[in-house]
C-alpha cells in the first residue's frame, strides 16, 4: 500500500521536475499527508507540526531537482523532513537558552520588567514600525522579527521575491529616516 503510494508520488515528482504544475500540486498534497503523519508521530504533542511541515515543503521545493527518478522516494522525502525537524529543535533549543518564559520570572521581578513596547528601545521601535505603510511593516516584521528568508517571506505574503526585497528596502530606508541615521 505504502510502496504503491510512494511509487505514485515518485512518478508525480518526476513529472513535476519536467514542469508539470498539476502533477507537482498533487505530489505536494500527497507528500504533505505522509509527512504530517510522520511528524505527528515524531513530535507528538508539539504544536509546531504544521510549521515544520511548511518548512519541509519549502525545502522540498528548493531541492526537487535532487530527486533521481528510479530511486525510492521515501529516503529522499524523509531525509529532508528529518533535517527540517532537527533544525526546528535546534532553533527551539537556542531560543530556550536565551529566553526565559514569563511563568519562570518571579512575580515581583516580572512586574518591574517593562513590556517591549513599554521599554524605551522597544517603544521607539514599535512607534517607528507603526509609522511604516502596512505592506512594508509586514515584510520588515517577517524578515527581522520572525527571522524568515526572502523566499519564505515571499511565500508567506504571496509577493514575488523581488517585490519583497524592494518593499523591505523601502521599509529600512523609511526606518533609517525616522531614526535620523
Amino acid at each position: 500500500m505504502d510502496a504503491d503510494r510512494h511509487e505514485e508520488l515518485a512518478r508525480l515528482l518526476s513529472a513535476a521536475q519536467d514542469g508539470d504544475q498539476e502533477a507537482y500540486e498533487s505530489f505536494l498534497v500527497g507528500a504533505s499527508k505522509l509527512l504530517r503523519g510522520f511528524l505527528q508521530t515524531q513530535m507528538g504533542g508539539d504544536g509546531m507540526v504544521e510549521d515544520v511541515l511548511q518548512d519541509t515543503l519549502l525545502s522540498i521545493h528548493r531541492a526537487r531537482h535532487t530527486f533521481l527518478p528510479g530511486r525510492a522516494l521515501g529516503p529522499w522525502l524523509y531525509a529532508i523532513c528529518k533535517h527540517r525537524m532537527i533544525d526546528h529543535y535546534r532553533r527551539s533549543r537556542r531560543i530556550m537558552r536565551r529566553e526565559v518564559s514569563e511563568s519562570e520570572i518571579p512575580a515581583q521581578r516580572a512586574a518591574s520588567i517593562p513590556h517591549p513596547s513599554e521599554s524605551r528601545a522597544g517603544g521607539v521601535l514599535s512607534d517607528a514600525l507603526a509609522k511604516l505603510p502596512k505592506s512594508q511593516r509586514h515584510v520588515v516584521e517577517l524578515l527581522k522579527v520572525h527571522d524568515m528568508s526572502i523566499k519564505e517571506a515571499a511565500a508567506r505574503t504571496g509577493m514575488s521575491e523581488s517585490a519583497v526585497k524592494v518593499t523591505a528596502h523601502r521599509g529600512y530606508k523609511t526606518l533609517r529616516r525616522l531614526f535620523g541615521v
Binding site: Q17, Y24, L28, H61, H65, Y78, A79, S149
Partner: protein, 210 residues
C-alpha cells in the same frame, strides 16, 4: 498561511528543473577535470627527476595509491551527502579508514628509518594548496547545485578530496621521501584544509537559505 495555500503557491512556481547527475557520474566528471588540472599543475611545477625510481619504493607507491583513493572516496562521500536520502554512514567512514591506513603505513616506515628528518616543507604546503585550489573550487561549485543536508561535513569531504589530490601531486614533485617529511608536510596540511572546508561548507552550501 495555511499549508494548502502554500502548496498551491509552490505548485504555481513549479518551473522545469534540471536534475542533478547521479553521484557516480558527478564523481567521474569531477575526477576527469581535477586530474587534468593536477597534471597541468605538476608539469608547471616540474615533476621530480627520479619519479620512476621513487615509485619503485613500496612505501611511496602505497602512500601514493592511498592518497588517490582518499581523494576519490572523499569526493564520492561529498556527492552522496548532497543528495537527500543517499548519505550512508559507512560511506563517510571510508575516507577516514583510508587516511588512517596512510598514516599507519608512514608511521611504520618511519620506524624503519634511522635518521628521520622532516626538513622544512613550507613550499610543499604551498604547492598542496595551489594544486588543490582549482579542484576544490570546482567541487564546491558542483556541490552547491545539490542539497547537502550536512553542509559542514560535505565541505570537509570536498576539501579533503581536493587536498588529497594536491598531496598526491606534491608527491610527484617533492624529492623528499622521508616518511616524517611526508607525514608532517604532506599529510598534516590536509587536516587544516578540512577545517577550512567545514567553515566553507557552512557558508557556501546555502540551498536551504536561498
Amino acid at each position: 498561511m495555511t499549508t494548502e495555500r502554500l502548496i498551491h503557491e509552490l505548485a504555481a512556481k513549479g518551473q522545469p528543473v534540471r536534475r542533478i547527475a547521479h553521484p557516480v557520474i558527478s564523481l567521474l566528471r569531477w575526477m576527469l577535470v581535477a586530474v587534468v588540472c593536477l597534471g597541468v599543475g605538476i608539469l608547471a611545477l616540474g615533476p621530480r627527476p627520479d619519479l620512476e625510481a621513487a615509485f619503485q619504493n613500496p612505501t611511496s607507491l602505497v602512500v601514493g595509491l592511498l592518497t588517490l583513493a582518499l581523494g576519490a572516496s572523499a569526493a564520492f562521500s561529498a556527492f552522496t551527502m548532497s543528495v537527500p536520502g543517499m548519505d550512508r554512514r559507512w560511506l563517510r567512514a571510508v575516507p577516514a579508514v583510508i587516511l588512517s591506513l596512510g598514516i599507519v603505513v608512514l608511521a611504520f616506515s618511519a620506524v624503519a628509518v634511522e635518521n628521520l628528518h622532516a626538513g622544512l616543507g613550507i613550499v610543499c604546503v604551498a604547492r598542496i594548496f595551489a594544486l588543490a585550489a582549482l579542484p576544490n573550487a570546482l567541487l564546491l561549485t558542483m556541490l552547491r547545485k545539490s542539497a547537502a543536508l550536512r553542509a559542514g561535513t560535505a565541505g570537509v569531504f570536498a576539501a579533503l578530496s581536493a587536498a588529497a589530490l594536491g598531496t598526491f601531486g606534491v608527491q610527484l614533485v617533492c624529492v623528499h621521501d622521508d616518511p616524517l617529511h611526508v607525514l608532517v608536510w604532506h599529510f598534516v596540511p590536509m587536516m587544516f584544509l578540512c577545517g577550512a572546508g567545514f567553515l566553507l561548507g557552512r557558508l557556501w552550501f546555502t540551498w536551504d537559505r536561498r
